[in-house]
Amino acid sequence: MHDEEVLGKAYDARLMRRLLEYLRPYRRQVGVAIAAIIGHSIFELAPPYLTKLVIDEYIPAGDLSGLGAVAVLFLVTLAGSFALEYVQTWTMQMTGQRIMFDLRMQVYRHLQRLDLRYYDRNPVGRLMTRVTTDVDVLNELFTSGVVSVFGDVFTLVGIMGVLIWLDWRLALIAFSVLPLIALITQWFRRHVRDSYRTVRTWIARINAYLQERITGMATVQLFRREARDFVEFDAIDRRHRDANVDSIFYYAVFYPAIELVSALAVALIIWIGGGWVLENTLTLGSLVAFIMYAQRFFRPIQDMSEKFNVLQGAMASSERIFALLDTPVEIVSGGSAPRNVDAASRNPPYVRRPGPSGSGDSPAAGPGAIAFENVTFAYVEGEPVLKDVSFRVEPGQRVALVGATGSGKTTIVNLLLRFYDVQQGRITIDGVDIRQMDLRELRSCVGLVLQDVHLFSGTIAGNIRLGNEDISDEAVRRAAEAVHAAGFIDRLPQGMATPVAERGATLSVGQKQLLSFARALAFDPRVLILDEATSSVDTETELLIRDALKVVMHGRTTIAIAHRLSTIQDMDRILVLHKGRLRESGTHQELLAQRGIYHRLYELQFQDRSAA
């Protein structure tokens, strides 16, 4: 247990050092704030002295002009103290904001790099907590905590000096309670940190739950889950409250305890010092003066204990933020790219424009031959979803992937875009292992229509071109026309500029799919991947798109996934996936002739239709 304690301290020190790192870019401001705070405490000392001056000198002398002069001096110190406090508040709070800014950017940037595997495991609401409230908690540390501690330490050391100078024996008695304070602080640190950790956990749970239930509210209501969900939410909310009440307990005990200890010191001084007065080893005057100063001695200590509480809260959320920042990124650009948070992004200065990102500016110029070589892949260790899959797609070839649901078609796409990395075998584009390629370059040559359509809030045009300003309005329009989305877009009140709600909630599913299809075309990729790109589109539009695509697909390597065999039968080659294995491959006619899985699938659809 003792060891653990030591470990805890070392751990805290490391955490603290890492937090203070964030102050480094702003050391000038911090310096100014510290100077201001020390100046301020000196100014604070002036009024009592001026009062003494008035009472001891000017009043007995009846010197009215002297009184006036003191009043002016008083005013000057007031103004000075006002100015310094302003400077201190301003610099420190601004620094706090800048650090929050930096930290948010850093977390957000890291979120852009984290593996999708991480996203599979972590609910959106939890990750949001890191970016929003966790960072906010840290702000308090920088604005109210760190700097004023310097002021406290300054006062503390000064008073300790005075105490020793007055009477070193009594000073020792006063200091004798310090170990007790250390003990209480230890106890407090251990318990309150735990409860703050729990608080952070539950606030993340609250966010995760809210996020999920708000986005799925229609389903909740359709299935009359309101009451049960409320019970669930109530349980989380209650745990959050209890954790907070727990932390109140600790700090509500902590402050009075520190006060009690300071009272104990004063009592000791009176008791023992009184004894010395009786023995005549101490004058009464010194004892009285000493008591006065001893009381001042504990004020900064109490102050610091308040800061200590803030610190504990901040540590609990910084643990979480750092844990996120320390999550290694497995899938990074090939070659010399770093495997972990690079030093540059660890502590970014405020408002730094991102440099040109990697070398991905020039899209790879190769023809676009794709090859899977003995690829085996499992999402969950030991449960391979793809087993020893090998195939080649020649440049400009159009290939269809078919297979039962859950057979691993989308997984192949996920691997090709390096959303996940293969465990065995390799995937190459133009002979280069995709793990050696620049990630952005790889992805920039692929246009993907995801099976799960996702639109962003914004406008119709904004959803087609996303953030890519290079895509002109005409290109957007052409893409929309190619997928026959232009018709419905033009009927919208503001056409291309019509606002789109979060997730495109006010559009029909087919319309959303068309937009996401248009998006892929607008990016003019060399490789086009269509994962069930028209599954929710009506037959007529689908046929029109198919015709339009004949032109669009020309010269592009295309991989299309579709359950409706009719949509893919004129592809150059069809790959049949069955339970994670590639079972058949060939043209439509060849596969029919093989009388295998494809034939069976086909028969079914065909019989079905002709029976009509």
Partner: protein, 583 residues
């Protein structure tokens, strides 16, 4: 009711805590005043002549007072801050419960991240107002009153002088208070924006990655973060002035007292001792004054956030039981006949459904076909009142759906949405989502899964039905998600089954299997099936063809094929495709 009044309602729930808390505040403050008094006596007595007994007595008295003060201080925090956590908890629960009552349209108009921000960040500002602010207001006003009384007891005239800056205090509190309120509101709003942006980026992360939008997303976030920063700067500028102003005004008081008071002393109208004592009491005011400024900020921030929460609380749900009658008392009483009577529905001024009339006899199957955006999903959504139909347009068993209690209405409907939404829980919990109890018997879950043909897939999952799927079901394949949603709808054993293009992501073989199994299920139910595939629609008792929000054709498959209209054309195209392929 004013916002303050509304909040008071929540505070009153904890009135006992607050009353006891205030008593503790009074006790703490009195003890706080007593210990300097004891110390003063100790010093005086020691001057007069010291004995060991006296030393011990005073030492013990100080310790005793500190202990008693500590206990009350502990109770004060524990009770008042504890109550504020209780209020926070109540508010959040009420907020969530209110969200649950809001209609689909509301969630389409508001961003998830924004709502979340109100439930967390804004709520925490409100909490700081009802807890710490209340506590410090009590402590400080008490100290203020006591110090004031002591000052008056010495010299009333000097007290008035000491209070000269008071109007300035009031004026600055009003001025800064308002400004802080406005700026806090703007800040909270921006925080909502940050939260919303983050939420959207995180949920669309695959698109962001696939299209290399990371720099753009970072840039967008930075812009928003910068606005947040700027707005905070505005607030800090205010607070930077406001906080020291309290100290300044307080100092002015001290200055006036010292200056004018010492003239009084010189003039012989006051003793030095009185002036010293007066100054000491004035010093007691310093902390309450400074805390007052701080509390003002807390309250203004809290009120700004509270108003933002009230915006949500004040939105009445558009879909309610307000018109409900007991015409259909419970789910068991529903037969399942559906009628649309001249249903016209518009979103804003966009009319999506025009004059829809149709009767779906109980126990029959109706297929709805039609082009993309023709209004199929919208038509289905009015049945469980996800969107409210106008009165007198949609009937179940002859009763306007608006007259059926929502719980009964929705309980009778098994709905498979076009985009199935699954939850981050185990498969069995997802399938049994509509049950009033967590799933206990596996049979119900398994038989529903078998009809949806999810069973074969689950057999391959090592944890079977206990497999936990990611949020929104991201760890399932597209078809698995859809089939889970079908199983979920079947598991509630509904009178009315609604399938909105529910087989679009499954292969033909599976589709065929599911349809075959569904036939048995559908025999006893009224079913509505939306599909783009003739193969699915073909077997229906009635087919409705929608185009541009109108029913353009209706009838059985055979009728429609011979009629040579839209449906026949569709049929011809789909057949042609197959034949082309077969050739």
């Amino acid at each position: 009711m004013t916002p303050g009044r509304r909040l008071l309602g929540y505070l009153l729930r904890y009135r006992r805590s607050f009353v006891v808390g205030f008593l503790c505040v009074i006790a703490t403050a009195s003890i706080g005043l007593a210990s300097p008094w004891v110390l003063k006596h100790a010093v005086d007595d020691l001057h007069a002549g010291a004995t060991a007994d006296k030393f011990r007595f005073y030492a013990a008295a100080l310790l005793g007072l500190a202990a008693a003060g500590g206990v009350f201080r502990f109770l004060m925090r524990r009770i008042i801050i504890g109550a504020s956590r209780g209020i926070e908890y109540d508010l959040r629960n009420d907020f969530f419960a209110h969200l649950q009552r809001l209609d689909l349209g509301y969630f389409q108009r508001h961003r998830t991240g924004d709502l979340m921000s109100r439930a967390t960040s804004d709520l925490s500002a409100v909490r700081s107002m009802v807890g710490p602010a209340v506590m410090y207001t009590a402590t400080t006003s008490l100290t203020f009153v006591v110090a004031l009384m002591l000052m008056i007891s010495i010299d009333a005239w000097l007290t008035i002088i000491a209070l000269v800056p008071l109007p300035f205090v009031t004026a600055s509190v009003r001025y800064f208070g308002e400004a802080i309120h406005r700026r806090s509101e703007a800040i909270q709003q921006q925080l909502s924006e940050i939260s919303a942006i983050t939420q959207e980026m995180l949920s669309g992360v695959r698109v962001v990655r696939a299209y290399g939008q990371e720099p753009f997303e970072i840039e967008r976030f930075r812009a928003s973060n910068e606005v947040y920063f700027t707005r905070n700067r505005g607030l800090i500028r205010l607070q930077g002035v406001f906080n020291p102003i309290m100290g300044l005004l307080m100092g002015t008081s001290a200055l006036l007292v010292l200056w004018l008071g010492s003239r009084e002393v010189v003039a012989g109208r006051m003793t030095v001792g009185e002036l010293v004592a007066f100054n000491a009491y004035l010093a007691m005011l310093a902390w309450p004054m400074i805390a007052f400024g701080w509390v003002t900020s807390l309250i203004q921030r809290g009120m700004a956030s509270w108003k933002r929460m009230l915006e949500v609380f004040d939105t009445g749900p558009a879909v309610t039981d307000a018109d409900a009658t007991d015409a259909i008392p419970d789910v068991a009483a529903i037969r399942g006949e559906i009628e649309f009577r001249h249903l016209t529905l518009a979103f804003g001024d966009r009319v999506v459904l025009h004059d829809i009339s149709a009767t779906l006899p109980a126990g029959t199957t109706t297929a709805i076909v039609g082009g993309t955006g023709s209004g199929k999903s919208t038509l289905l959504s009015v049945l469980p009142r996800l969107h409210n139909p106008p009165p007198g347009t949609v009937f179940i068993d002859g009763v306007d759906v608006r007259h059926i209690r929502l719980a009964v209405l929705r309980g009778a409907i098994g709905f498979v949405p076009q985009e199935p939404f699954l939850f981050g829980a185990s498969l069995s919990e997802n399938i049994a989502f509509g049950w009033s109890q967590p799933p206990q018997d596996p049979d119900g879950v398994e038989s529903a899964a078998a009809i949806a043909r999810l069973d074969t897939d689950v057999r391959d999952f090592p944890k079977g039905y206990d497999t936990v799927i990611g949020e929104r079901g991201i760890t399932l394949s597209g078809g698995q998600k859809q089939r889970t949603a079908i199983a979920r709808a079947l598991a509630v054993d509904p009178k009315i089954l609604v399938l909105d293009d529910a087989l679009s992501a499954v292969d033909t073989y599976t589709e065929e299997e599911i349809l075959r199994r569904l036939q048995g299920v559908m025999r006893q139910r009224t079913s509505l099936i939306v599909s783009h595939r003739i193969s699915t629609a073909r077997g229906a008792d009635q087919i409705l063809v929608l185009s541009g929000g109108r029913i353009v054709e209706r009838g059985t498959h055979d009728d429609l094929v011979t009629r040579n209209g839209v449906y026949a054309e569709l049929h011809r195209k789909q057949l042609l495709e197959e034949e082309l392929a077969a050739s």
